[in-house]
């Protein structure tokens, strides 16, 4: 916060911000234009004050123009996200701390005694590759029918799986402390398919809503007065949407029931009542109904008769 000679402005150079708390407007600004003008002049004074300090900073020349180093901003503004939380130590780290084990850096190139050469530790043509071992010496503790090469691979697989499990446990404890590394996400996956158990199907948004609605109707008041969670939509009305006409018409309003019956009567007794009926359509509907009754079941379920198939003794009777 800087103080100026004439008026005390509060200047924050880091944010290019200036605040003049002492200006009082003349009681009634005559017009809007006068007001705007006054505001802009006051603004100019403030910007000038910031520029005074800014241009007096030591500047370095660059391709685009004079660069100036800004001081850090003084006005405190709230953060966007929480401060990063410290990660809890992993199980190995705790053990190493307890035992006093130091981290040692591994070299990328290692001396291979079997071939008297320097080979890389990981990757193509590496030292101690599992596929390249020619001979494994038998020990007294070995069982006769066991394949030591397969055993080596198997042991490695077990070690890798165990490490994965340890890693997961470490991440879980980090997630519990709210310090999961930013690029990792822990997701609850579906249950594994074991034998005949089918995977449970994931319910969508609408289906969940339907299920919730169903559950709500089992309450005493049919789910009408249930407390809704923030953002939950009100229940959809099931079934037909009836609009019942009032029995006694309201004062001054049209009698809707009377109107309804009058409408129907009017149509039937009018001059053009014979034109209302679509005779062709009516005949078709009647015939269809008759045929359905005859057959007993829908045409779709009947096996279709193959007319190309010849009946063997059809003509012989004749």
């Amino acid at each position: 916060m800087d103080t100026e000679m004439d008026q005390i402005y509060q200047i924050d150079v880091g944010n290019l911000l200036a605040f003049n708390p002492n200006h009082r407007f003349s009681s009634a600004p005559s017009s809007r234009e006068e007001l705007v003008k006054e505001c802009v002049t006051e603004g100019t004074k403030l910007v000038q004050a910031i520029a005074d300090t800014l241009f007096n900073f030591p500047s370095t020349e660059s391709v685009d123009g004079p660069l100036v180093q800004l001081p850090p901003p003084t006005t405190k503004l709230p953060r966007e996200k929480h401060l990063p939380r410290p990660k809890p130590p992993t199980k190995w780290e705790e053990f190493a701390l307890k035992k006093g084990i130091q981290k040692r850096k591994k070299d990328k190139i290692v001396y291979d005694e079997t071939t008297d050469k320097f080979k890389r530790r990981h990757g193509y043509d590496r030292v101690k590759d599992d596929n390249d071992i020619p001979i494994i010496e038998a020990k007294a503790s070995d069982e006769p029918g066991e394949d030591p090469f397969a055993k080596r691979l198997d042991d490695k697989k077990k070690r890798v799986d165990k490490q994965q499990q340890n890693r997961l446990q470490n991440l879980k404890s980090a997630a519990k402390a709210g310090a999961l590394p930013s690029h990792v996400q822990l997701a609850a996956s579906a249950l594994p398919i074991t034998g005949t158990k089918a995977q449970p199907k994931k319910l969508g948004k609408e289906e969940l809503g339907d299920v919730a609605g169903l559950a709500a109707t089992s309450t005493a008041s049919g789910g009408k007065f249930d407390k809704k969670l923030p953002g939950e939509k009100p229940t959809k009305k099931q079934g037909k949407h009836h609009r019942y006409l009032p029995v006694v018409p309201r004062y001054g309003w049209v009698d809707e029931e009377k109107e309804q019956t009058n409408k129907v009567l009017g149509k039937l007794l009018s001059k053009h009542s014979h034109e209302i009926l679509n005779v062709g359509k009516a005949i078709n509907m009647y015939n269809d109904k008759k045929e359905k009754k005859k057959s007993g079941r829908s045409d779709k379920l009947k096996p279709k008769k193959d007319i190309t198939k010849k009946k063997p003794y059809a003509n012989k009777a004749k």
Binding site: N22, F25, Q69, L168
Partner: protein, 325 residues
Amino acid sequence: MGQVAGKSSVMMEIRTPKTHKAKRVLEKRAPKLVENGKKTLILHGTKTSATVSSVLMELYRLKKGGAIKYSRRNENIRPFESGGETSLEFFSLKTDCSIFVYGSHSKKRPDNLVLGRMYDHHVYDLIEVGIENFKSLLSFSYDKKIAPHEGSKPFICFTGEGFENVQELKQLKEVLTDLFRGEVVENLNLTGLDRAYICTAVSPAKVFLTHCAIKLKKSGTIVPRIELVEVGPSMDLVIRRNRFPNEGLRKEAMKSSKDKPKKKVKNVDQDDVLGKLGRVYIPEQEVGKIPLPDKSKGVKRERREGKVKKNKEEGSASKKLKESE
């Protein structure tokens, strides 16, 4: 990614990004000691008037690099109601925006603008203002040469005792600073200063906001004389409702870590005897690929020097001739 059957009945999966780009995006969005500039989310509600939609559009233009504008109507967002913020928080999470500007229009609240901030993607504070006497940036005529560039760092000026005495105006001042500030930079190019936002507290409930371009005029000293020309939108903001941040949340959000992130300096060692040591890596010298010197006749040093000498002699010789003549 690995599926591991833990001791619990629920199987957990470790999901890591498959590409470097995805990893960088996630790291950018993670909570850090020194944060990125806040991005703004601009959206509108069920009904907007012409004023509100032009205000939102112009605000988006002013904040082009750090703002996201949604064009669809959002009927279920009601910032001041307890359940109406869930959509906002979801959008904030998806777009990584910590400030939002929500515009709407209704009979009860005409030309309404809600400015809000988020902390950890939950609503931190809100302030609702009404827009009056809006003048669009298209209605101002000025010399196009002084038009401010997109994304330049603005000056922000507040005038009026209201900003210090009235709580709501204090909050508005903070929100406007956050909104217009942009990125916090260490090095600033002095030629790139071309805009200023002027906010004046006309009365304890009304603020006049305008956007001006800066003209630098020559003065006697290194400091140029500043002239402001109104270019951008100007409007009156009338304070309506607001919500202050929760005290506990405010304390947590204002916390800042004093230590700076240690920048790893590579290839520099400190030795007790020799002092500061550095490592220099020289690439492998491929003898077969070294560019050979240019041995063409005209370029040889002896030839060049010989030529220079000859010219000198000739020059002096010609002078002698001239003198003698």
